[in-house]
């Protein structure tokens, strides 16, 4: 690791990469079929979910199982803001939609930001009592809070339309939106991690007592990390809602399962690595699509097997457990995919070939 690239080279390479990815996406948007385009946007959305949970779980060291709650808050808030007033009138067939949603319609960007803010406010309210707890108690408490949010969504019919959910949400999310937001998330959380605030967070993660004795206000730092994570979870929720075009508060759509899925992404990618989280999200999105063949009828040696429902989830959970046991650091561990790392990796490769 003796060789290091200068900051300027780093910046140029990063801008070049972003530009390259943009070109790729531009090409993709035009050439790929709608199905592929949707998967590519989904990777961006999953990426934001995973990166924001990485900030909370991997970097701040708070083990939160409440991510789906914040995603749901962002999804509901922004969807209620972008749906046309007429659409809301025909969707809310049981109870009339409450103020202010009955008279407001915003465009996608402000609605998404407000969704993020609402999620952030709630993560502050939830973090305040929960962050006083330690370790696995905190995990269960946050799980409890996300379940409470889901149950509120089921019962507050004049705001969420209850079990009927929101239908006919405009399909605004596309590759541009989801990847632009992913870029913003990565830039923001990435620079946060490399700031003095981020170093304080990592110090707390390693040893809270030592960090506290160094004069770091553990509670304040963790709470801020939690709230920022909640904000981006809300953003991802908004993108998710406008990608799905319908949301409802069932366990299978916005419930514990969603949190577990995001957890799988960051565990596979490596707990505590932003680039790992994105890799994990990409793998998860692609694998869930690709593994569909497992659930389709197939022919092996002229025997016809009917598709087995649920086999995909079995494969995923097996991968999840195996990674935890044999490869607990995941793909990236806590390392980041930086230009320096790639550069030195290439040099090492060359060095070996000379021998």
């Amino acid at each position: 690791m003796a060789m290091k690239l200068s900051n300027r080279t780093n910046l140029i390479l990063t801008i070049a990469l972003v530009f390259f990815v943009w070109l790729l996406l531009f090409f993709a948007e035009g050439r790929m079929n709608t199905y592929m385009v949707r998967i590519v946007s989904l990777i961006g959305i999953y990426g934001i979910m995973a990166v924001s949970l990485t900030l909370i779980n991997g970097i701040t060291g708070i083990f939160s199982l409440g991510h789906s709650g914040f995603i749901a808050l962002g999804a509901y808030t922004s969807a209620l803001l972008t749906m046309s007033i007429h659409q809301k009138e025909i969707t809310f067939i049981l109870d009339k939609v409450a103020w202010p949603f009955n008279s407001v319609q915003l465009s996608f960007l402000p609605a998404t930001i407000i969704g993020g803010i609402v999620a952030a406010v709630f993560s502050f309210l939830i973090g305040w009592p929960s962050l006083r707890l330690s370790g696995d108690y905190l995990a269960i408490a946050t799980l409890g809070f996300s379940e409470i949010i889901r149950i509120l969504a089921l019962n507050l019919r004049s705001i969420t339309n209850g079990a009927l959910g929101l239908k006919g949400i405009p399909q605004y999310t596309n590759v541009w939106w989801s990847w632009s937001w992913l870029l913003i998330t990565v830039i923001f959380i990435g620079s946060l991690v490399n700031s003095s605030f981020g170093r304080a967070l990592k110090a707390i993660r390693e040893d809270r007592v030592a960090a506290a004795s160094m004069g770091i206000n553990v509670f304040k730092h963790q709470l801020l990390g939690f709230v920022i994570g909640g904000f981006f979870a809300g953003i991802s929720g908004s993108l998710y809602a406008h990608w799905l075009t319908t949301i409802d508060p069932r366990t299978t759509s916005i419930g514990v399962m969603l949190t577990f899925n995001v957890l799988i992404m960051i565990v596979i990618g490596g707990l505590g690595s932003i680039s790992g989280a994105i890799i994990g999200a990409g793998l998860f999105a692609v694998l869930t699509e690709w593994l569909r063949f497992l659930e389709e009828p197939m022919k092996i040696f002229s025997f016809e097997f009917s598709g087995i429902a649920g086999l995909r989830m079995l494969v995923f959970s097996a991968i999840f457990v195996i990674v935890m046991i044999f490869w607990p650091r995941g793909i990236m561990g806590r390392k980041e995919l930086t230009w320096n790392a790639i550069y030195s990796w290439f040099r090492r490769g060359k060095g070996e070939s000379y021998e």
Binding site: I90, T91, I93, L94, L154, G165, L244, T246, E295, G307
Partner: protein, 367 residues
């Protein structure tokens, strides 16, 4: 041999330009594949009996939506863009039909769903119709059954707050039952709950004469068991969510005296010629009694075929208009009329569970 076959098929399709394509969009794999297969069986029977229209052959192509909301829209898009179909038959669950229906509407292609009962599926749409009744009507029929046929005046509604189907049905039941002069009150639960003793005790305290449980069979069976254990022996009324053999296998004696509203029962006096044809051919082909979903699949095919016949062409716009003007069509599930909204106006079969068997009880006709 294979090459020859391919050439033959291509030749055949070039020669017989006179085919009309119908895309069948169903969940053939994934979570609710069983429902998709049931519908497909009915469609197959219909296609075997009536394979052509106006002298042209009807060609069916299946598009699998993989029991997935997102795929539901993709499958309809594929059917229209790639399959170049004149009409679409599908989909099963209301949430899939909502997703797929939006695409059909955008592409101005007629779509007939066999079994999506949620009102939103067709509301405000010009091209999406259905051959099943809608939940408001099912709720209305259940209320009429309770008030007039069973003579109860005070009903406890057990509402599953997690299922949109249950919430909708509960409210439609309440509206009619109150208009008729009865009284209702609500007890709430959530899908997956297993203990309902507190709700049942409360319902008994409030003096419920019957329980209306518009949910799915898992909870219906458990509520029935616990209600009987706690000494409630009045009638239980549910929607078509109880129309599954599991209701009886789990509920046992407790579900005796349970009435539910549904689309079809093979014992209902076969009013139409098509119903007899369907029942005969189906039992012959599959060696079992048809489920309601199969009968609905049959009817969806028949209604589309009838519309093509009346439209006299494969033009999508003409077929869509013809579907909306379906009147007094004799289907397997009864006489079907489709109104301007695209909803089927038809009768509801009432089935009662007796001695562990689904018994046909009566039919309630729209007024």
């Amino acid at each position: 041999m294979k090459k020859f076959l391919v050439v033959f098929v291509i030749l055949l399709s070039v020669l017989s330009l006179a085919t009309i394509k119908i895309g069948v969009v169903l969940p053939m794999t994934g979570g609710i594949a069983a429902f998709g297969r049931m519908v497909w069986e009915g469609v197959e029977v219909a296609h075997e009996l009536f394979p052509d229209v106006n002298g042209e052959t009807i060609e069916l192509t299946i598009f699998d939506n993989r029991s997935d909301k997102i795929e539901a829209a993709n499958a309809v898009r594929r059917a229209i863009d790639v399959g170049n179909v004149s009409a679409i038959l599908g989909e099963v669950a209301s949430s899939y039909s909502l997703a797929g229906g939006a695409v059909a509407e955008e592409k101005k292609t007629p779509m007939v769903t066999p079994s999506s009962t949620n009102p939103l599926v067709t509301s405000g749409k010009k091209y999406v119709s259905r051959v099943c009744f809608i939940d408001p009507f099912q709720g209305w029929a259940a209320a009429v059954l309770a008030f007039e046929n069973l003579g109860v005046r005070n009903v406890a509604i057990f509402m599953d707050v997690e299922q949109d189907y249950a919430v909708g049905l509960a409210n439609f039941f309440m509206q009619t039952f109150q208009e008729l002069g009865g009284q209702v009150f609500f007890e709430y639960y959530k899908s997956g709950d297993q203990d309902f003793t507190a709700q049942i005790s409360d319902a008994m305290l409030t003096g419920a004469e019957a329980l209306f449980i518009p949910g799915y069979y898992q909870e219906i069976a458990l509520i029935a068991i616990q209600a009987r254990q706690l000494g409630f022996f009045g009638p239980l009324i549910t929607g078509d969510g109880a129309d599954a053999p599991e209701t009886i296998s789990i509920g046992g004696d407790a579900v005796n005296g349970l009435y539910f509203t549904t689309h079809y029962h093979p014992d209902s006096p076969a009013v139409t010629e098509n119903a007899k044809l369907f029942l005969e051919r189906y039992t012959e082909k599959f060696n079992k009694i048809p489920a309601a979903l199969s009968a609905l699949g049959f009817d969806a095919y028949m209604v589309i075929r009838d519309a093509i016949m009346r439209a006299g062409s494969a033009d999508r716009e003409a077929i869509a208009q013809a579907i909306r003007s379906t009147t007094n069509f004799p289907g397997a599930t009864g006489i079907i009329n489709i109104d301007n909204e695209g909803n089927a106006v038809k009768s509801v079969a009432i089935v009662k569970i007796e001695d562990g068997q689904f018994k046909y009880e009566t039919t309630i006709n729209p007024r």
